[in-house]
Amino acid sequence: MFKHLFKMIWNRKRENALVLIELVTAFLVIFFIAAEAAHNWWLYRQPLGFEYQDTYEIRIGGLAGDWSEQDGESLHQVLGAVRSHDLVEWAHVAHMGPFRNWQWTSDVTHDGRVVDSMFNQFTDGAPQDLGVELVEGRWFDETDAANPDRVVLINERLRAQLFGDENPIGVDIRNRSEHTENPEIGYRVIGVFRDFRQRGELAELRNYTIGRFPIEDKEQRALTMLVKVQPGLDAGIEEDLQSLIQGIARNWVVTVTSLESLKRIQNREVILPLTVAGLVAGFLLLMVAFGLFGVLWQNVTRRTDELGLRRAVGATRHRIYRQIVGEILVLALLAVAAGSLIGIQFPMLGTFSALNWQSAIEALLVGGALISALCLVCALYPAWLASKRSPADALHYE
């Protein structure tokens, strides 16, 4: 049966080649969009590593020049005032808050291995309050202020890449940065946490290192505060917080933004282009479907005599129907096979981060299913048209 269908396709190879090219192109369009979508869906399902509900990011700006000790003094007063606000559950200082498109990255080395990692700093207690899960070791606390080692915690991903099966607790890692005066700073690992996906649910998984923000050092510049309030409050709390802080630190420009709205904006930046690409691809596929339908319809009309002959020598209607549908399905199969061969080059070469083996295979399945379904739907009516013709009429056609 299959061999026969191949032969039928081969006999009309010129026209089928063009249909095949069209199907392969359509397959590749679906493949790329499906891979991107599959990868984002996978990222979305990975744990975020922290809680963001009812939490506000407060950015401290307007300080073009240096951070002075006076600002450090203000920071202490601000923290005290915010923490004693009735509706505030906790308040902390961070180097940078989540759901923003900025990051602090640096190379980390241990035992000859070099990997890059994102960095952040929090005041004591902030990771616990944010709901970051400690896997082993301990968090930093105020006793570390007197600790001569700079202490850090690393996420599980960084631990696996840097240490493998070794125990990381108590080991010094080094930070290589060409932007600091001291090219190599040592950090002591005191704990491992699950994850902290600073750039949100749709960002790639990254290595992450959390250090301690030395709040006792008044010359340490603070950029961001994170404040959790009681649930169910309106924008009034933002105004309260802003005027409270602005009242203490008059030279700062303070911006209060809820993490939930930041997350929404950030997700939209990924989802919107994907939706637009999906819509455009949808229109392209509709066009391909119409085109294919037209081509098949014409082909069936042209092959009236051939199909009539088959009916005359005893083929049932059902068999004619199966032949037409079978031919186009074999063509679809060929297209999917050729498209897959092109498609799997990308995870092999590693050109796009979104196209790894997992997303590529999911995309191949989606693409294969859609192309087959499209071909099947387009073939149903022409095949029915071909099968309902009576053999007498068909032979008379000659």
Binding site: T255, T257, G294
Partner: protein, 414 residues
């Protein structure tokens, strides 16, 4: 002769309505998408709205400070000190203005929060750009020198903060400080790179004046010339001046890199990642855009070729008769190409209006703040050009195939 072709094309179009619909649908969708993309890109660079004088100025935005070995660097937009040392003292421009990139401000109105985009400007900015004032006045020289807390709002901000009343002369609280409204301008779309914004204040109206010591800050300078032909001279003077860079701490940075660009070059630099190169790679960018459009048209073209080939059968009798009476291959090819071009152009016109409808939809959706796309004849012309290419490519192969049909075989089908 040509008239006959057109009549045939019209008849063929009406004969099998389903096929004509499929053809037109494919062409129209393709062109609609292209129209949307080209119009959006073109609206970035076109001299329209407040940026109507953009052919008269160059912009200096990105600045990079590095050491000789380029091992350490500091990169962002120009700081005030950079402007003072390398921009504001230029002699060739007729006028120099500057503004800061928009930052998010906070205004509270009855328990709800607004987050307007706040731009800090000097007084010349308002002379170089051409805002449409609804009421009041722009920021003036004495506002700038005295650091007054005055503000110009756009129309939407006026109605959000003050309702339907005229805001000029009234006060509101921005980032916890009181500002007086001196002017109201029409909304400028978010995609206008120099003129977009919601609230404009004097650059000196900040509580903290330390920004004056920064080499790297958030500023963009506009170098204006009455005569656009003098822009290259201005660019040369600016670039030459960069050689006399002296950083506060000469040990840390010894070199400065920056460019003076037209709007188009600025857009290209962002896309092509060529911010500090002498050549903005504008040519390469255009080539890449053109290539992307051709690639996008590949699938619709193949689709149309397939349809056209299978439609030849429909015309077998007609071709047979014409060939039997001695029509040469070229005449048949020409006829078929004309038919295909008519179809493509018809689809193109439908697609163009479909594209305009999509653009209106994008405007209405508010995805791009204050979007107001202007669609001009250049886009329409480019669209028609693309459609002619499309029509030719998708017509040639089927036309040849049709013309080569043996007259006997063709007639037998009749």
């Amino acid at each position: 002769m040509f008239k006959n072709y057109l009549v045939t094309a019209y008849k063929v179009l009406l004969r099998r309505k389903f096929f004509s619909f499929v053809n037109l649908f494919g062409i129209a969708i393709t062109l609609a998408v292209l129209t949307v993309i080209v119009t959006m890109l073109q609206n970035y660079v076109k001299p329209i709205g407040a940026e109507s004088r953009s052919p008269h100025f160059l912009a200096v935005r990105n600045v990079r400070l590095t050491n000789e070995e380029r091992t350490s660097s500091s990169t962002w937009n120009a700081g005030y000190r950079f402007l003072e040392r390398h921009v504001l003292n230029l002699e060739t421009p007729d006028m120099i203005g500057f503004y800061s990139s928009g930052s998010e401000g906070t205004v509270f109105i009855d328990g709800t929060k607004l987050s307007p985009t706040v731009v800090r400007t000097d007084a010349n900015f308002w002379k170089i750009l051409d805002y449409e004032f609804i009421s009041g006045r722009p920021i003036q020289a004495d506002d700038e020198t005295e650091g007054r807390t005055v503000a110009v709002l756009n129309e939407s901000m006026q109605s959000e903060i003050f309702g339907d009343q005229d805001a000029v002369g009234r006060r509101f609280t921005l980032n916890g400080r009181p500002f007086e409204v001196v002017g109201v301008v029409e909304d400028e779309p978010e995609m206008r790179m120099h003129s977009s914004g919601e609230i404009w204040v004097p650059h000196s109206s900040t509580a903290d004046q330390n920004y004056r010591n920064e080499w790297i800050g958030g500023f963009t300078a506009l170098l204006y010339a009455e005569d656009p032909n003098r822009l290259p001279i201005i660019r040369d003077e600016f670039v030459d001046g960069l050689a006399y860079f002296e950083y506060d701490d000469p040990e840390q940075y010894q070199r400065v890199e920056s460019t003076a660009d037209t709007k188009f070059e600025m857009l290209v630099r962002d896309f092509m990642n060529s911010r500090f190169e002498e050549d903005s790679k504008a040519g390469l960018f255009l080539l890449a855009m053109f290539g992307a459009m051709i690639a996008f048209m590949f699938l619709p073209t193949i689709n149309l070729i397939n349809l056209n080939i299978s439609r030849i059968l429909e015309r077998a009798s007609e071709i047979g008769v014409r060939k039997a009476f001695g029509a040469p291959t070229t005449a048949l090819v020409a006829q078929f190409l004309v038919e295909n071009l008519v179809l493509s152009l018809l689809g193109g016109v439908i697609g163009f209006f479909l594209g305009v409808a999509f653009l209106n939809l994008i405007e209405a959706s508010g995805l791009i703040a204050y979007a107001n796309f202007e669609i001009d004849l250049v886009v329409f012309g480019a669209a028609l050009f693309m459609m002619i290419i499309f029509g030719l490519i998708s017509g040639v192969y089927p036309a040849l195939k049709m013309a080569r049909m043996h007259p006997v075989a063709a007639l037998r089908r009749a």
